[in-house]
């Protein structure tokens, strides 16, 4: 159960992140 929840939380975060990236979010730190 613990492993399932861990995998689910990973999947949720990855999905959300890539959906937002796909909608035009960028990932560049205007750094150094």
């Amino acid at each position: 159960m613990k492993l399932f929840l861990r995998l689910l939380w990973i999947a949720v975060r990855l999905t959300l992140a890539f959906v937002l990236i796909g909608r035009g979010g960028t990932f560049f730190y205007q750094g150094f």
Partner: protein, 364 residues
């Protein structure tokens, strides 16, 4: 125009996929090292074009051929490029995060010059200076740490893989969901109006910088874990730092380590020898001012960043003086009991948070 390391594009993820397929099964040390070099050069070629990859390979060959003497060439060349990078913004140098490469080059040159490590070969040069997963925003791995890695890591367990993927997911979530939401909702570039909002924005800005910056480190550490490449931790809950000394042990840890070993300790030791260590507190203060002044200038060659560095140096000097005074007055046990007091801890953490938030607002 070269593209920056943008994780919304395909290059980073392609390099990670190729690395997983090619590097993971390799158990021969030389084959693994050569493939890792090819992967890093391939990433440079995808990002900036094949010419840049060829130039990087050429520089690595020259450094390898000149053996130990190449250390001076590396230092002089990277210093010149660093000044160019900071004075006339160059899209190519910005794209590869040259400031980080500069510090790696210095660390490598010093380790070789002092005889702690052998002169690097072509593969060591490329793999240490331009590792694809640490290009965007570090961490700044030390050359000693890089050389200590086993040539072939232990086969990854399912837990290693899970932790690697989890770390990448954590980084992406922090950057794309949390940091970007904060940015869109609250950040105005400190042009939002009254002093109250300025102060509020300073808090959010600190939070945003932490989420954004540490997200890159999470992704680099996760990628390193998946590929069996040691990648140092860069953050350890810095928002909970109880004083500014503690803050620098939790924030951008790899830069703190670089400053401590390559600036602070050498300056402190030199001054202590020359003055026969007559006033350690003054020596420490000068070492803080020099090392954090230079740290500020590393971030940007202008007065704003110099002020930021000196502001942190002054904070560190006050903090160190206060710690020494506490120790003299209350002894070790008394100081420990004082620090363990919960309200005191909360107050110190809040003061440290504000100190850092204001410093970031200065350079925003």
């Amino acid at each position: 125009m070269p593209e920056p390391v943008d994780l919304a594009n395909y290059q980073f993820w392609s390099a990670l996929a190729v690395g997983l397929v090619v590097l993971t099964p390799l158990t021969h040390p030389t084959a693994r090292k050569v493939c890792w070099t090819a992967l890093n050069l391939m990433f440079l070629a995808m990002l900036l074009g094949p010419k840049v990859a060829v130039v990087m390979a050429g520089l690595a060959v020259v450094t390898a051929l000149t053996r130990g003497r190449g250390a001076f060439v590396v230092v002089a060349g990277s210093l010149a490029l660093f000044v160019v990078h900071k004075t006339t913004p160059n899209p190519l140098l910005t794209a590869i995060g040259f400031s980080y490469i500069f510090l790696r080059a210095l660390d490598m040159a010093r380790a070789v010059y002092e005889g702690r490590q052998k002169a690097p070969g072509v593969c060591e040069c490329v793999n240490y200076l331009v590792p694809f997963h640490m290009l965007a925003a570090g961490p700044i791995q030390s050359y000693d740490d890089f050389c200590r890695q086993p040539p072939v890591p232990a086969a990854p367990t399912s837990e290693d893989v899970l932790q690697g993927v989890e770390r990448i997911a954590h980084g992406l979530f922090k950057k794309v969901i949390l940091a970007q939401t904060l940015e869109k909702l609250f950040l105005t570039g400190f042009s939002g109006g009254d002093a109250g909002y300025w102060l509020f924005e300073a808090q959010i800005y600190y939070l945003w910088v932490y989420l954004d910056f540490s997200a890159y480190s999470d992704i680099a550490v996760g990628t390193g874990r998946l590929l069996g490449l040691h990648t140092p931790e860069n953050f350890r809950n810095p928002l909970l730092a109880r004083d500014i000394i503690d803050f620098w042990e939790r924030w951008h840890i790899s830069l703190s380590r670089f400053i401590r070993f390559n600036l602070f300790i050498p300056v402190q030791m030199t001054l202590a020898r020359r003055t026969r260590n007559r006033s350690p507190l003054v020596i420490g203060a000068v070492a803080y001012l020099v090392s954090f002044g230079l740290c500020g200038l590393w971030h940007g060659l202008d007065s704003k960043f110099l002020v930021w560095g000196l502001y942190h140096a002054l904070g560190l000097i006050v903090c160190k003086t206060y710690q020494d005074w506490m120790l003299q007055r209350y002894g070790r046990k008394g100081r420990k009991a004082y620090l363990a007091n919960f309200p005191i801890r909360v107050l110190m953490t809040a003061i440290t948070f504000e100190f850092v938030a204001i410093s970031l607002a200065i350079i925003a």
